[in-house]
């Protein structure tokens, strides 16, 4: 319990907790003290001197900075005296001395604290007659952020954000006095993954968004509270639109999810929303080419053809693929249509049934966040297995860094690459890809008491075994084990990189064993990487699960669903994503693909999809997969339709419609599916997306009571627990054995991947990954290939031409290739898992 301190501000008494700053105490009374450098998310520095007020002290009433002085008992503060007024006027006159006053062309004009405070507290008249000091006006500190050094008031907010939150001091002060300016180090642009947040923090127009530059004025945009769909964190943001165009994206505060931060991909990569390449008309293949058609023609054709395939080959010959990039509503209707109208469980999404996941997601993001104003992080040790938050979930990365630096959280990282987070104290276990099961077993063996039941399960995973198979030294393993054994409240997180393919289920079991032994089975979490990975699982977009994670043979759940839907549910398990695509053209005769692009993932799938009798693709762009389709149904993006998304901590959040394109005939996903079901004699007649949300709430027990209105702007987290965890033996799957000169390939998700949606933001392409393979210097030396050389990487499944990058962060003996590179699908070398043996030849 914190002590309360009572003080007097402007003759009014207020009681606040000890340690509160005078500024915040005044804000409680509704008294505004002007500030520039002070920000609630940053440590005080008191450098702008704008908040000087009279505060009582041992030497009487003295001017002190309200943003850095903590309250004291019986303190007297005066904020409106003649002296304070004079100081505020003088200070503003001083700040404006060299300010260019080019408000008409400044993007901040209209929402600028400097403008507002000059009007409210400023002198009104300028005394300056001399010319102003000239500095750089169009200074790029990165490809996406422009710095105007003339407008800068040297408040240090940008410097402090990069230091305190990103832990990347890439901006600094140079020169002195009136010449002081903020700049990057020579030739080293700001490359922090969340650097765009300094634009939101800047109190003047010094830092502006280069992607949105000059395309909006704050007084004429419509602001829609929405959320980001680039990763599974579900950061809250605001979409600013004007004349049917998305103009810019800014962060929105949600203290349960993203604080107020956004990553640069979420903030800047939105050019695709208004791209001219978007689909605007249904396309039907006639004489071999896709030609525009009417909606009734296209939907009629889809219904006729699918019914014909079902009659001829049975319901199991039809499959549907959902998308974790799309909303709960769209995915729910797709699986309902598949199960009700087609009568098959052939429904899955990428990283769906092929990944060994857990149903519940992260316990709570807020438990990881350690803002200066909140409680200490709830987790003292975080184990990351096959997850690289810096590339996959950048705002989680910021939370983790804050937890490490302010909350003394320790990280144990298991990853084949020396990822960014390994720079913090803790343990880094650079396990060979595919050997994670042995490593986790070895960890449990080191943690567990010899002779205990848990120990007996992993008795064979000795230090020697771990060293031989995983390439991890016993000392590192013991250090990680000591951290985990000493943890009060450890959090164990694993991701799809480790959970794909046949090593997934044993890894999940190995981690379950470890979590059980540590006494925290609920703290084990699988995180999917796409915006609605969690929602797709919750809503049964899986071949072996009904909505609400019910098993197919759960007769009570199947009966309840059948009653609601008015049909009998199919009982036979369906095919997974990989199985459907592998057998396309074989057992699977027709596919309905919603917002997925498997043809770009593996060249093999492009071939199998082409062999299908009938392929329907519902997309926003003519992707590689859509180009193979018989019918392409144009959908609108997440910004143009209402929908809800479930993030990695089970928080259901809503993304309302922010804009529409009056020239386009594209329709919301739920509406297309609703009409399609009508063509199958199953009229659902949902009036709007909210009606679908209401139906989901009725169908999925964990979502009970959720309504569009109840979700509000901050979303709601559903409570739930997975199936009871139990000890079982986790067997290491055999690693492929092949010639000694071959390397172990591993693929990794990267933030700037050059995928379709990212590639359309021109300004960000400088940071994008090219078609490359990264090798440790020792491997590149032994192979005799150098940096920049083009090599042929081949595996038993295929080969790719890639450029060599020498990278010390990659484990020796490992070839690392980023996923989703344009023109270089790493899936060509893989067979469903994230690993394979590859050989590398010079071209």
């Amino acid at each position: 319990m914190t002590d309360l301190v009572t003080l007097t501000i402007d003759d009014r008494q207020v009681s606040v907790p000890k340690g509160t700053l005078v500024l915040d105490a005044a804000a409680r009374l509704g008294i505004e003290i002007p500030v520039f450098c002070s920000h609630p998310k940053l440590d005080p520095v008191a450098c702008c001197r704008m908040c000087l007020v009279e505060i009582s002290g041992p030497r009487g009433m003295l001017l002190q900075t309200a943003c850095s002085v903590p309250v004291a008992q019986d303190m007297v503060v005066k904020t409106a005296t003649q002296q304070v007024r004079e100081v505020q006027e003088a200070n503003l006159a001083f700040i404006l001395l060299n300010h260019p006053l080019d408000c008409p062309i400044c993007d901040k004009g209209g929402e600028c604290p400097l403008q507002d405070q000059t009007l409210q507290f400023g002198p009104g008249l300028s005394q300056l007659v001399e010319p102003k000091r000239l500095k750089h006006k169009n200074h790029l500190i990165s490809e996406t952020i422009v710095l105007d050094q003339e407008r800068c008031v040297v408040c240090w907010r940008c410097i402090r954000y990069l230091e305190e939150w990103e832990d990347k001091p890439q901006l600094a002060l140079f020169e002195r006095g009136g010449k002081t300016l903020i700049d990057i180090q020579e030739g080293q642009p700001v490359d922090a993954k969340t650097s765009g947040n300094i634009i939101d923090l800047c109190p003047v127009g010094a830092l502006t968004n280069r992607v949105a530059r000059f395309s909006y004025r704050p007084w004429e945009i419509e602001r829609t509270p929405s959320l980001c769909t680039h990763c599974s964190l579900g950061c809250n943001l605001r979409l600013d639109t004007r004349t049917h165009k998305l103009r810019r994206v800014v962060g929105r505060e949600n203290m349960q999810v993203n604080d107020q931060w956004l990553c640069d991909k979420g903030r800047f990569a939105h050019g695709w929303v208004n791209d001219d390449g978007r689909l605007t008309m249904p396309l039907v293949r006639k004489n071999g080419t896709l030609t525009p058609a009417s909606w009734s023609e296209a939907l009629g054709l889809v219904a006729d053809k699918l019914q014909a395939v079902k009659r001829q080959h049975g319901a199991s010959a039809v499959g549907a693929i959902g998308s974790a990039k799309l909303s709960n509503e769209s995915n729910y209707l797709l699986q309902r249509w598949m199960r009700q109208s087609i009568g098959s469980n052939n429904i899955d999404h990428r990283d769906g049934a092929d990944v060994a996941a857990l149903p519940t997601g992260l316990p709570a993001l807020a438990g990881l966040m350690k803002p200066q104003y909140g409680p200490a992080p709830r987790y003292d040790v975080v184990l990351l297995v096959g997850v690289d938050p810096s590339e996959e979930l950048p705002v989680l990365d910021v939370h983790l860094k804050r937890a490490v630096r302010r909350g003394k959280t320790q990280l144990v990282v298991v990853h084949p690459r020396q990822i960014e987070l390994t720079r913090y104290p803790g343990a880094f276990l650079q396990a060979a890809p595919g050997s994670e099961v042995t490593l986790i077993n070895g960890l449990l063996r080191a943690v567990a008491e010899p002779g205990s039941a848990a120990w007996a399960l992993v008795a064979d995973a000795s230090d020697q075994q771990v060293e031989a198979l995983c390439g991890v030294a016993a000392a590192a393993l013991q250090k990680a084990a000591a951290l985990l054994a000493g943890a009060q409240n450890p959090l164990l997180v694993y991701g799809p990189m480790a959970a794909r393919g046949e090593s997934g289920p044993p890894l999940r079991q190995a981690l379950t064993n470890l979590a059980l032994y540590l006494g925290k089975p609920a703290n084990l979490a699988y995180v999917g990487l796409e915006a609605n990975s969690q929602g797709c699982r919750d809503l049964g977009v899986l071949p072996n699960r009904l909505p609400g994670h019910a098993a197919l043979d759960d007769s009570a759940a199947a009966k309840a669903l059948g009653k609601l839907w008015g049909c009998k549910l199919p009982a036979a398990p369906g095919k997974s994503y990989k199985q459907m695509l592998d057998s396309a053209g074989g057992d699977i005769k027709a596919l309905y693909i919603l917002g997925a692009n498997p043809a770009s993932e593996r060249p093999l799938w492009a071939q199998t999809l082409a062999r299908l009798e009938f392929l329907v693709v519902q997309e926003i762009f003519l992707t590689e997969t859509a180009a193979l389709a018989d019918v392409v149904l144009p959908a609108v993006s997440w910004a143009e339709q209402d929908g809800t998304f479930t993030n990695l901590e089970r928080r259901v959040q809503r993304a309302p419609k922010a804009l529409n394109n009056p020239q386009s005939k594209a329709a919301p996903d739920w509406m297309i599916l609703d009409h399609l079901a009508s063509a199958f004699d199953a009229p659902w007649s949902h009036a709007n997306a909210q009606a679908v949300t209401a139906e989901i709430a009725a169908v999925v027990p964990a979502y009970a009571g959720l309504t569009w209105e109840a979700l509000g702007d901050q979303g709601l987290q559903w409570n739930g627990s997975g199936p009871a965890a139990a000890y079982a033996r986790a067997e290491q799957p055999a690693l492929p054995v092949s010639p000694t000169d071959s390397l172990q390939l591993t693929a990794g998700t990267v933030l700037y991947d050059g995928g379709k949606l990212f590639g359309l933001t021109r300004q960000m392409q400088g940071g994008a990954f090219g078609a490359e393979v990264r090798l440790h210097p020792s491997d590149s030396a032994s192979l005799g290939v150098g940096e920049g050389e083009v090599v042929t990487v081949s595996s038993p499944y295929g080969s790719l031409q890639l450029t060599v990058k020498v990278d010390t962060t990659v484990k020796p003996g490992v070839a690392w290739v980023p996923e989703s590179l344009p023109g270089a699908p790493v899936g060509a070398l893989l067979n469903g898992s994230a690993q394979a043996r590859v050989s590398i030849q010079k071209k």
Binding site: D102, P104, I105, N138, R213, F214, S215, R217, W219, E220
Partner: protein
């Protein structure tokens, strides 16, 4: 009686003819428009024009303040960044689109007053009739190249 009435009538006619004869020598008060130009007050507000500097650069910087000031929403502006090698206007910003909807405009002159660079001005051209509704939307090219540049910069 008859003579008196005749004289009275003749006087009246004479008076009337006097007015006519007097006016015969005066200049006419009407104007033979369109043959003759119409006299306008200096502060008359007619069709909009966008001005340039002497060096040919556009004065408009695309700040959209006119759009904000317009009480009828008649102005639409889109801005972009100048190419540093070939700038359209001084500074970093210029207008890529500038449209005035004459059917909405009430010629109040608020746009002139809002303009920080005196780029948008209301000229003296008042003949704005047209055959097509679409033609009532003045584009940037039309605004920059008025038929008769006859702009008066008002001192206020």
């Amino acid at each position: 009686m008859a003579i008196r009435e005749f004289l009275k009538g003749a006087t009246e006619i004479g008076k009337a003819m006097g007015v006519t004869l007097k006016a015969l020598a005066e200049q006419p008060v009407t104007t033979e428009y369109p043959r003759d130009p119409v006299p306008l007050y200096p502060r008359f507000r007619g069709k909009h024009e966008l001005r340039r500097y002497e060096n040919g650069m556009e004065r408009c910087i695309g700040c959209m303040l006119c759009e904000a000031a317009c009480p009828t929403g008649a102005i639409y502006v889109e801005a972009a960044e100048n190419d540093p090698q070939h700038p359209t206007s001084p500074g970093e910003r210029y207008a890529t689109v500038y449209e005035v909807n004459l059917l909405r405009c009430i010629f109040c002159g608020d746009c002139e007053e809002a303009c920080p660079t005196e780029a948008i001005v209301l000229g003296h051209d008042f003949a704005m009739a047209n055959y097509n509704r679409r033609d009532f939307i003045l584009t940037k090219a039309e605004l920059l190249n008025p038929g008769e540049p006859n702009v008066v910069i008002r001192p206020e």
